[in-house]
Amino acid sequence: MSEELTNSRLGAMAYDPAPESAAIARLKPAYGLFINGQFSDPSSHENFETLNPANEEPLASVAQASVADVDRAVYAARRAYDTIWSKTTGAERSKYLFRVARLIQERARELAVVETLDNGKPIRESRDVDVPLAAAHFFYYAGWADKLDHAGFGPDPKPLGVAGQIIPWNFPLLMAAWKLAPALAAGNTCVLKPAETTPLSALLLAEILQQAELPDGVVNIITGDGAAGAALVDHPGVDKIAFTGSTEVGRLIQQRVASSHKHLTLELGGKGANIVFEDAPIDEMIEGIIDGIFFNQGHVCCAGSRLLVQESVADDVLRRLIRRVDQLRVGDPLDKNTDVGAINSAAQLARIKELTAYGEEEGATRYTSSCPLPDKGYWFAPTVFADVSQSHRIAREEIFGPVLSVLTFRTPEEAVAKANNTNYGLACGVWSEKGSRTLWVAERLRAGVVWANTYNRFDPASPFGGVRESGFGREGGRHGLEAYLNV
């Protein structure tokens, strides 16, 4: 062994750029509103540009829906519900859903590139996670459409009617699939509003719905800002509001929907705790922590943004974690070797910077990846805060970015107490080779989802949703049907 060796550089073999072609997206210069099966101009003739967050260049011009457009979309959905969809058998509905699922698979590459351009997420994730999971959701709920009698909600459960669905910018296509697939399987018609900064994959999905020959008006997709979303929430012709997004906006929606006839489900923020015991499988646990917080740049409502590590192994875990964080490849989201992409918007980047500044001010020890960042676009280097206390803002508030707060605990009781010491309750992770302890901890965690020896794993058959300020209602699985049935 050579005496002069003192370390072995990870990632010494630099990878040449391996970009996916942006041309695959075949983006149009402008997109209208998808109402009653057709793309049409907004009544206001107002448009806005959607940017590529990786270089701040405009991708396409998108219609700004006005109150009148929202009204038109809800009317189209109502008519489609009354005249067609409520009279369509479950088996027929399932046929359309299977078609959509297959078309998503056929156009997977195009969808993945569009998603990465518009959102900034690495192509590896849009290709291997977002798009396949979106197709899987349509496949899964296609199977339920003709079996609702056997879903456990009594004989012949009825749909609610017109569902208004507002989705966030972190998983634009996947959230559209989570909303549309169960709603349509249950027999509802939909008005979907994608997020202002990420409308493109939903508009491509609209093309797919046309290709699938879904009857006109069964799904309407309107683009625009918060005002369009508010108009949809307030519209008297809507029977159900399903919202995924921030707790702040969710609270406003709940207030506006109160005292109306509308059903409501909310999937809001989180401050997930990833709990690491000293007997955890260490290498896989490190990967799980990384996936938990750096997947999708940490723009994940269920992100494992708090790491609770048993004090006896804290030094070793932190050392390995920092080493691994420094290896993350940050850069061009279209590059197949990119691990962490761009922050979705300037506003989100500002929010992340603000909260991380508090972290340093409050006395936490900051480790920031030494990775080089591109000059243009919205970027934030993966960051870990050690020595974080429960009272720090970075331990309490959702950062929604690639920032991990590390806290320690001594006993399982303390781990549970710290994990539950939050207003949120979406997801937690437990890492241990001892099954009995994992179950003991999982039973006591106040969270909608608890993962054991993994994190951020999704399957259409598994229900997902929160408790407390993380919202209510479930998406996915048999439970996901309940949100769209009159039970």
Partner: protein
């Protein structure tokens, strides 16, 4: 049981992006089976789902252009060109050695491979043909591939191969002893074989396909390393399941951790079923992102293979010319 070094286990606690390598060898002393068991019991478990997911994720890395060219050349230099058949003859070994020294005579910039790997009775012949070339002679000994013989027979096998000129010995561990819990027996055999090797390098074959679980792979890796292995090797190539990416990942994690806590840099060899350049490059990515630069060298990583070499040559030429050539462009040895 005894080992030469006396330094205690040492943990590196500083925060650093790279894998810390020791300045000097500080191998821990294993004096009893109780101590060995305690050490192995202290190793972290492996979560199979997580390990396989990590390997699959790294397999999606895309190597292009100059990275790919450099990686193909490195892979060629890491090949242990192998023939392990009952039908092997001196003539067969002669042509294999010629291929090993000059894999593609039309292009002198193609590196020679790391070693040829043969049965012990053909070591003398291979040594004679290779002469003073940089290509090493490796030999499978210890009643390869099953290892079902007495220790004396195994040691004799090793000593004869070494005295016939083998630079490297590929031994097999006693899987039966491992699976029946006689871990001290496995360790003692590695120690004895290492001693019989003298100055020859020792590669210890774990036969991961027979150990089955990743926990076993990790424990067997540590037994081999503590016993004095210079390399740990996945497989004989003679059973149903040979080298796999997740098994190699677990072994790379083991050599990385061993370097940090025990103070010795151990190599890894993957063998069996690696036929395409794509497969080979995936292993290089695994090294790059698990153990780092110190293992990106034939000194620390090998491919035990035969047909792989021609595919590496094929892809190398394709990268340079932009188009594929006929398979007959390369010699069939």
């Amino acid at each position: 049981m005894s080992r030469v070094s006396t330094a205690p286990l040492r943990l590196v606690t500083s925060v650093d992006r790279d894998v810390q390598l020791p300045r000097a060898s500080t191998l821990p002393v294993i004096e009893s089976e109780v101590q060995l068991r305690a050490l192995l019991a202290g190793l972290s478990g492996v979560d199979a789902v997580g390990a396989e997911a990590r390997a699959a994720k790294l397999a999606t890395r895309s190597l292009k252009k100059s990275t790919k060219l450099a990686a193909l050349d490195l892979a060629i230099a890491m090949v242990d060109l192998t023939t392990l058949e009952g039908a092997d003859t001196p003539g067969r070994v002669t042509s294999l050695c010629a291929k090993a020294m000059r894999p593609y005579p039309s292009d002198p910039s193609v590196p020679s491979v790391a070693a040829v790997c043969v049965y012990p009775d053909l070591v003398g012949h291979a040594r004679h043909v290779l002469g003073s070339s940089s290509v090493k002679v490796a030999s499978v000994a210890t009643s390869f591939p099953s290892g079902r013989a007495s220790l004396n027979v195994k040691l004799l096998d090793v000593r004869e191969a070494v005295s016939a000129g083998a630079d490297e010995i590929d031994m097999v561990i006693d899987r039966g002893a491992f699976l029946s819990g006689r871990l001290g027996h496995v360790f003692d055999e590695v120690v004895a074989v290492k001693e019989a090797c003298g100055s020859a390098h020792l590669k210890v074959i774990l036969e991961t396909g027979e150990l089955v679980t990743y926990d076993n792979v990790r424990r067997a890796s540590w037994i081999a390393m503590l016993g004095g292995a210079d390399f740990i090797k996945t497989s004989t190539g003679k059973v149903g399941v040979n080298a796999t990416l997740p098994a190699a990942l677990v072994m790379l994690e083991a050599v990385r951790d061993f370097a940090e806590v025990a103070g010795a840099v151990i190599g890894v060899k993957v063998a069996g079923g690696i036929r395409s350049s794509k497969d080979a490059l995936r292993y290089l990515v695994l090294i790059n992102e698990t153990t780092g630069s110190a293992w990106l060298s034939p000194e620390r990583f090998r491919f035990g293979a035969s047909s792989l070499l021609n595919d590496l040559l094929m892809q190398r030429l394709k990268q340079r010319r932009g188009s594929y050539v006929r398979a007959d462009e390369f010699s069939g040895d």
